[in-house]
Each structure stands twice: as C-alpha cells, then as structure tokens.
C-alpha cells in the first residue's frame, strides 16, 4: 500500500508540470494549446538522449530550451501567420513527431542502461532515503510552481494574464498580445518539456508514443485540483495542478492494483471526466432552462 502511495506521489509530482503548463495556456492565456503531447515527448527525447551521452543534468536546461522552441513555433503560427490557435498546436505537434524521432536517432524508443540519471545522482547524495525519488520530483515541481507564481505577478506576467482575461483591454493598453502570447506559450511548453525530461530519466526511457493523450490527462488533473481548491487566484491554480495530479495518479495506481476496471479503460474514463467537467456549465444551464420551461407550463396559459 505504501508502495502505491510512493509511486503515485512520484508520478503525481512529475506529471503535475504538465497540468501546470495547461493551467498557464488553457486557464491563464485561454488558449487550447495542443502542442503538449509532442512537447512532452520532445522533453523526454532530449533528456534521455543527453543522459545517455553522459549529461543527465545538462539534459534539463536542454529540454527546457527545446520546449520553448516548440512553444515559439506554435505561437508564431497563431500570432504572426494567422493559423487558428488549436490548429497551430496540432501542426506543431505533428511536426514534432519527426523531430522527436530524429533526436532519438530515428528509433522509436531510447533506453538508459546503467547510465547516471538525475535520480541515481540524487540517490547517491543520500537525501530522502528510500523516498529519494519523491523528494527530487517534489523539489523540481514545487520550485517550478513557485517560479511560475512569482513570474505571473511581475509586470510581464500581469500582461500575459490580462491577454487571456480581456483582449479588448490589452489592445487599448499598450501591451502587444502577439508578444505576451508568445512568451506565455514558450513558458508553458518549457514546463511540459520539463515534465517529459523528468519522467524520461525517472523511467529510464523515452518512447515516441509516450505523450499520447497527455494533454487530456493534464486537463483532468487540473480540473480535479480546481474542483477541490476552487479557481480564482494564481497560487490556487498552481497548487491545484499539483494536488490534482497526485490524486489522479493515486486513482490510477489504485485501479492498477485492484483491477476494478482494466487499466486500458482509464483513458476513456479520463476523457469522459474531462468532457463532462468542461461541459458542466452548459449542462447546468440546460437543466435550469428545462426547469424554467416546466415551471412556465405548469403556471398555465398553454
């Protein structure tokens, strides 16, 4: 049981970075950025390839830069070339498939055998004992979260938030939305790639299909977290990403362990949960309208 908790915490913290990235792009900037799936694999590919070459630490900044580049391409397509934002993400995502294969030396997966990773290096320091993986994952994610929150309170951060909050106002107040969207997407994709980089070294492998559906899982985590903590503030959003992600991984681990539903079924359940959560306001409205109609017809007339 303790083992389940431990694994859930490890994966929860590592994948929380994706939820955080989606918090920035989907909630703060109000853009559905579908670069995520490819961006995650990009981070893993860069990280694992670098680690295999003997640079597990340098792998992290390299993955961050790669993620930013992917975000930049998506942002460039939508802000400068007029590609609709969802399509821009899909286009980049598709292109990334080839880029990722190229990074991995044209093979569908790369594994780390007996090479140092961030985790083995950290294990050698002796910090955290048996829980060293949790400690390292938590450290990286919480640090990223704190930096993100601090950043969103700076003037540039405020401009990015305003871009997602009220475009009319932004245009009238000397902020260049093309610039703020670009910076926002670069950061969110850097976070996604960081997640991929950490997960890659944690699992000692990068797989070309390792990112499939990660955007929906990330959204599910974010929604779970927000349901518990509420929305509104930036700090709550960052904490919600982490909490939601850990809860999701706990559920995942429990399903895996107890086999209540086949593990393969979890994707469908995740998709349904996300669809329902996002559709919730519309569904609520529909019910309210039906109720009103019923009340009106009861009152008489016809």
């Amino acid at each position: 049981m303790l083992y389940i908790l431990q694994t859930a915490l490890e994966l929860g913290f590592l994948y929380a970075l994706v939820a955080m990235a989606l918090f920035l792009s989907y909630r703060v900037l109000d853009i559905a950025d579908l670069t995520t799936d490819g961006g995650f694999v990009l981070g893993a590919a860069v990280s694992v390839t670098m680690a295999a070459a003997g640079h597990p630490i340098l792998a992290v900044p390299a993955a961050l830069i790669a993620g930013m580049a992917a975000g930049f391409v998506t942002a460039f397509l939508q802000t400068r070339l007029g590609v609709p934002s969802i399509l821009a993400g899909i286009v980049t995502n598709t292109g990334l498939y080839t880029i990722n294969l190229m990074i991995m030396g044209w093979s569908a997966n790369v594994s780390l055998l007996k090479t140092d990773t961030l985790f083995t290096l950290f294990h050698n320091t002796g910090i955290g004992g048996d829980w060293y993986e949790v400690v390292l994952a938590a450290f990286v994610t919480i640090l990223a979260g704190i930096l993100l929150v601090l950043f969103l309170k700076t003037r540039l951060g405020l401009s990015i938030r305003a871009t997602g909050d009220n475009m009319d106002m932004v245009r009238a107040s000397s902020i260049n939305p093309a610039f703020t969207i670009t910076v926002g997407l670069c950061i969110s994709n850097a976070l996604t790639a960081l997640s991929g980089a950490m997960v890659g070294q944690y699992q000692n492998t990068a797989d070309i299909n390792g990112g499939t559906g990660i955007v929906v899982i990330g959204l599910a985590c974010l929604i779970i977290g927000e349901t518990i903590l509420g929305r509104r503030t930036i700090i709550k959003g960052a904490i919600a990403s982490v909490t939601g992600s850990i809860i999701y991984r706990l559920i995942y681990a429990i399903v895996l362990y107890t086999k209540i539903v086949p593990v393969q079924g979890l994707r469908l359940i995740t998709a349904i949960v996300v669809a329902l959560a996002i559709a919730f306001p519309t569904i609520k409205e529909w019910f309210a309208f039906q109720k009103r109609k019923m009340a009106a017809s009861r009152k008489g007339g016809n």
Partner: protein, 265 residues
C-alpha cells in the same frame, strides 16, 4: 497636437458590402482641446476613433500626433500615448485580476519599467491615492478582482487607468452611455476633473446634445464620414440644441437621426 490630413477608409472595398466610413476627413486639435462629437448613426464617429487608435490602418491620408507620424504605427504602440474608453464598461478592465493589478498594467505605459519587477509598496500607495480621488471606496478594495465591481465603478477605474499616466490624447466613445443616470453623472464629473487637472487633449463622442455643448471647448458634428460642423469659442457659447439641429439640417439636408439623441433631453 493632433493633425489629421484628408483621411479615408472604406470597408470591404470592391464588394457589394463596400462602405466608405470616412471620406476625406481633416482636423486639427490644439493642445488641451476638449472636443465633443455628435452625429447620426453611422456617421463615422467610432470609425474616426478607431482610425486614430490604430484598430485598422487608413486607406489614404495621414495622422500626426504630437509631431510624430503615427499613420502606420501598430495599435499597441499608439496606445502608449492614446488613452481609450468604450461604451461597454466591461471592455476596459480585466475581470479576473485585482484592482491593483489592473492599475499596474495601465501604469506599464509609464516610461521603461522592468518587465520582471513586481508591484512595489510605492506603486500601491500611489494607486491608493489615485483611487481615493474617485470617491467610490475602491482604495480599500485593491486586492479584490475587478469582476466584483459595478459597471460604473469599472468605468471609473478604466478612466483612471487610461489617465494614470497622462496620455497625449484621450478618446472617449460614449463612455457614460451604458451607465445609469446617476453613475453617468459621476463618471462624467470625474472625466471633467481629470482632463482639466492633467490638461489632457480629449475627444468625446456623446449622444447627449446638451452635454455636447456644455462640456469642452469645441464641438464637431459628423455626418457621412466627415465633419460637417465645427464650432468653438463665442459662437459655441450662444448655441442651443435647437440651433445645432437646425445647423445640422442646413449643412447636410437631412435630419439628425440618432435614435438615442432624440430620446435624451
């Protein structure tokens, strides 16, 4: 201050929907001018504002603001020296951000601020002082999201945001039209105070004829994408609403048909 030379703008040119919104319009504003603009529906009042603000680029002519040619300057760069208020009070503020965050954004227009600096204590004190001038108690609610404010409060805040760094030019597009009469009166009084205090050059579209003659020092009447009447000084001080209507009819051969003008006193 503002020099507009012979500007024209046609939307959807070459199609059946082609509409010339502004045709050969020229105007010259002096520093500190407060101009009120009235006109029929579709006379090109808002289009003129959008042309000045850079929402679109004009087809012909030139726009010079404070000696600088801004004809092809992008909107966000013009916004550094042009403040804007719209009729919809929701357009000027970010609802999910706090009052102080909104003001901090407006304050960005100020000189060169470091992108990574945060709102300082000094900024907060400054914002508080400015908010107090609105007399709406907003200075005690600085950490609340703007979405909780009423339309009037939001419009007053937008006005403050547009003028916290005094712009070279302030464009007011019926900014009190969507507010209830009491609030509208208050926001208008604030506008008058701030514009006078900061000595801002200002263009204001209104549908209230009386207001158009009372406020400011000069009045434009617009029709068919041009200024058909430009009154100021002595001549303007003796003008009544009836005179204005008569002058409009004489100038354009048509009645002033702005649905809202006829309803207002």
């Amino acid at each position: 201050m503002l020099d507009i030379q012979n500007i024209s703008k046609t939307f959807n040119p070459g199609t059946v929907n082609a509409k010339t919104a502004i045709s050969g319009l020229s105007l010259h504003l002096n520093e500190g001018d407060f101009i009120t603009i009235i006109g029929s529906n579709g006379a090109g009042k808002s289009t003129l504002f959008n042309a000045i603000a850079g929402v679109f680029y004009i087809d012909e002519g030139s726009i010079v603001l404070a000696g600088k040619d801004i004809t092809f300057l992008p909107e966000h760069k013009r916004s550094r020296s042009i403040g804007r208020l719209f009729q919809d009070p929701l357009k000027g503020t970010a609802p999910n951000m706090t009052i102080e965050e909104n003001l901090a954004l407006a304050y960005l227009r100020n000189v060169k601020t470091n992108s990574f600096s945060r709102i300082s204590k000094k900024d907060k004190a400054f914002f508080q002082e400015k908010l107090a001038l609105l007399e709406m108690g907003l200075e005690n609610r600085m950490r609340q999201p703007v979405g909780l404010l009423s339309g009037g409060q939001r419009q007053a805040l937008t006005l403050l945001m547009a003028t916290v760094v005094p712009p070279k030019l302030l464009l007011l597009d019926e900014h009190t039209a969507a507010l209830d009469p009491g609030t509208a009166e208050k926001v208008l009084a604030l506008t008058r105070d701030i514009v006078a205090r900061e000595h801002i050059t200002c263009l204001m579209i209104t549908h209230n004829m009386k207001q158009a003659l009372e406020l400011g020092n000069r009045t434009f009447l617009m029709a068919d994408g041009n200024i058909v009447l430009d009154v100021e000084g002595e001549e303007r001080s003796h003008l009544t609403v009836e005179d204005l209507l008569a002058r409009f009819k004489a100038g354009t051969g048509q009645e002033l048909d702005n649905d809202r003008i006829l309803l207002s006193e």
